[in-house]
């Protein structure tokens, strides 16, 4: 019989769920994010309440058997939010606890393989966002950017942008997931913003600094000037910058 575990969607919540799996010796489980609504739909169902003493024990157990980067990989796989990610993380963790030796590199195991694929996808998108963020300078000095990545990589971007733009205020907003990260010259905070009132996006454009247009214009020009027409290779171009990213790239608008 399959037990459905409903947890709050956080990594800590997921680890708490893992704790319950072991506690109740559950064989077949399904992980679901969110709140418990219609209990009638499920045969066997369990609401997981994220609990530090529980996920803490799982975490400790994992830390004993995994390297720091192995731990990090599990977190990133979970962050991807892809359908089978939680199942892969759970399978991976079970394998870790079952095995005597460190299994991080056993790519013959389907969970290890799947986690590695998920991580690869996430890293790729993270890297793309590090490249494709385009800041626009507002009158109050804030450098502002909007992105729409395929996956939820915003939390993975914090370190990079904080290290790089230490002396300017900046914000990166994920339009798809409706939250952003904001750096105020000291620290980075998560924030939510409401663009639906018609004031958000439009107002932002009105409040650009005077030279913002100028630099955008220069960048577009530069982009054109460096092209070598006799080497044109559209296939390669699109492989590098997939079209879905274009609408936020100054040089492609």
């Amino acid at each position: 019989m399959t037990t459905t575990l409903v947890y709050d969607g956080t990594f800590e919540g997921l680890l708490t769920a893992v704790f319950e799996v072991y506690e109740h010796k559950l064989q077949f489980v399904k992980l679901v994010k969110g709140e418990l609504h219609n209990t009638a739909l499920f045969d066997s169902l369990m609401q997981i309440i994220t609990d530090e003493s529980r996920y803490g024990r799982v975490l400790k157990g994992l830390q004993k058997k995994l390297s720091a980067s192995g731990m990090q990989r599990l977190y990133v796989a979970h962050l991807s939010g892809i359908d089978d990610a939680d199942a892969a993380v759970l399978g991976y963790i079970r394998y870790v606890f079952d095995a005597e030796q460190n299994i991080e590199e056993d790519y013959g195991n389907r969970y290890v393989m799947r986690v590695s694929e998920l991580v690869k996808m996430m890293r790729r998108e993270k890297h793309r966002m590090e490249a494709f963020v385009r800041f626009q300078k507002l009158q109050d000095g804030l450098f502002y950017s909007v992105i729409e990545p395929d996956f939820n990589v915003l939390p993975m971007l914090i370190r990079h942008f904080k290290n790089r733009y230490a002396d300017q205020k900046w914000m990166i907003y994920d339009l798809k997931r409706k939250y952003g990260i904001y750096y105020d010259l000291h620290q980075v905070e998560y924030m939510e913003m409401d663009f639906t009132e018609g004031q958000g996006a439009g107002n932002v454009i009105n409040s650009f600094t005077d030279d913002e247009d100028g630099y955008q214009h220069l960048w577009k020009n530069y982009f054109k000037s460096v092209n070598i027409a006799s080497r044109k290779n559209t296939k390669l171009h699109i492989r590098h910058i997939p079209k879905r990213y274009w609408k936020h790239l100054t040089e492609k608008i």
């Binding site: 590090e130 290290n163 100028g214 630099y215 000037s225 070598i228 559209t234 590098h240 100054t250």
Partner: protein, 419 residues
């Protein structure tokens, strides 16, 4: 900012710089520890031109005025084109403002030679110095050194720049004589030697004193033009590159397929195609020399003066050396696995770590990212199926080519429908 004027200058001076291919921004580790602007760590390509090349640096000339007359160069004295020059401050402003908007990783600054080598070099150094000291800029800076500039200026350049390059332009001395009679190969090699010594010396100093200043931490690179003359075959080019890697500890040699920009009877005609495939093969060969443990004479030699255009150099080597195959994936050492066509660095490493757990079969190998359609002819694994040990090199080549051809045809329709 006078937008119109700057735009015009930028158009002219970016256009003139675009033929320089050394655009990489990796290999440095400049941290942002001063609460300043930027860092230089892992190279990021922020955009790609329509020809598919990466844009990671603001790559411009300080000026395209030049007292020299190199046949392959658009900025040559005798070419009738619009000339322009940036001021030091203009370059600094562009760099900072592009960087703050996350357009670029830093600056690649080159220049036509105005007045003389030292005057030109001095101006380049000024830009870098201003960026580092006045703006606390930690982004990437690549300066193209002017051949013949004084050691003093080169030393100063190394203190501010992450990478320095002296372009060889032509792979051989004869080629240079033919196309750039004003230039002297000695003037290019002398600063390379100076930089090599300085880099080694400073790196040792840095080991002893943590606070010692960085000196060109991303090392030096050079560029050679490919296909501008017929006298330089791939053998000459790769032997020359190999020599510069070994003797001058260069980080990269860039190969730039000649783009016909001028009518000149010493050069290929204006309608000649850019040798893009050849350029690509040279990069692949270069890669094999630097990371895959191939010796230059395994790739090119008197029997193989040119790289194959229809297949990559690793496959080409494998077909010429069938006696070392098949390789047992479960036993061979990493170096040997790296030599198998269809297996790249990452999958080779994965093979070696995964086989500790299990004897690998075809299924495993496929999952690890190996291009099995190529590798199958050169390996054995824990499986009896499809081993083809008795095929000749020629047959294997036919099979592989036929397959990549049909794949190409299959893909074509939906690729076209993208536009």
């Amino acid at each position: 900012m006078n937008l119109e004027r700057i735009t015009e200058k930028l158009n002219i001076l970016a256009d003139a710089a675009k033929y320089d291919v050394s655009c990489a921004s990796s290999g440095s580790k400049r941290k942002n520890e001063n609460k300043g602007l930027g860092n230089a760590s892992n190279g990021i390509c922020h955009s790609y031109t329509e020809d598919g090349r990466c844009v990671s640096l603001l790559k411009i000339l300080l000026t395209n005025h030049c007292i020299f007359d190199c046949a392959y160069c658009v900025s040559r004295k005798s070419n009738d084109i619009k000339r322009a020059a940036f001021t030091v401050q203009e370059v600094v402003d562009l760099t900072i403002n592009f960087y703050r908007r996350n357009y670029i990783e830093g600056l690649f600054l080159s220049s036509g030679i105005f007045k003389d080598a030292d005057t030109t070099m001095e101006r380049l150094v000024q830009v870098a110095k201003k960026l580092r000291t006045e703006h606390k800029f930690n982004g990437y800076i690549h300066l193209k050194s002017i051949p013949g500039a004084s050691d003093e200026l080169m030393r100063e350049a190394g203190l501010y720049a992450d990478r320095l390059s002296v372009n060889l332009e032509m792979p051989t001395e004869e080629g240079l004589k033919l196309l750039a009679p004003d230039k002297d190969r000695k003037d290019m090699i002398q600063p390379m030697g100076f930089l090599r010594n300085e880099i080694i010396h400073r790196a040792e100093e840095k080991k002893l004193f943590k606070k010692a200043p960085m000196f060109a931490p991303a090392g030096q690179s050079t560029q050679v033009i490919v296909g501008a003359t017929a006298i330089e075959d791939d053998r000459a080019i790769l032997y020359s590159a190999n020599h510069f890697y070994k003797t001058f500890k260069l980080k990269r040699v860039y190969y730039s397929g000649y783009v016909p920009v001028l009518a000149d009877n010493r050069l290929p005609a204006l309608n000649t195609a850019v040798p893009m495939v050849r350029e690509n093969r040279l990069y692949q060969a270069d890669w094999l020399m630097r990371f895959y443990g191939f010796k230059v004479n395994e790739i090119v030699n008197n029997d193989q003066r040119h790289l194959d255009l229809d297949i990559d150099p690793k496959l080409s080597w494998a077909l010429r050396n069938m006696h070392v195959f098949p390789v047992d994936i479960n036993k061979a050492d990493l170096q040997m696995i790296l030599r198998v066509p269809g297996i790249g660095m990452l999958s080779a490493q994965k093979i070696v770590s995964t086989r500790k757990f299990n004897k690998l079969n075809w299924e495993h190998i496929k999952k690890l990212g190996v291009a099995v359609n190529r590798a199958q002819y050169f390996i054995t694994c824990n499986s009896n199926s499809f081993e083809r040990r008795d095929l000749t090199g020629t047959r294997i080549k036919q099979f592989i080519l036929a397959e990549s051809q049909s794949k190409y045809l299959k893909n074509k329709p939906d690729q076209l429908s993208l536009f």
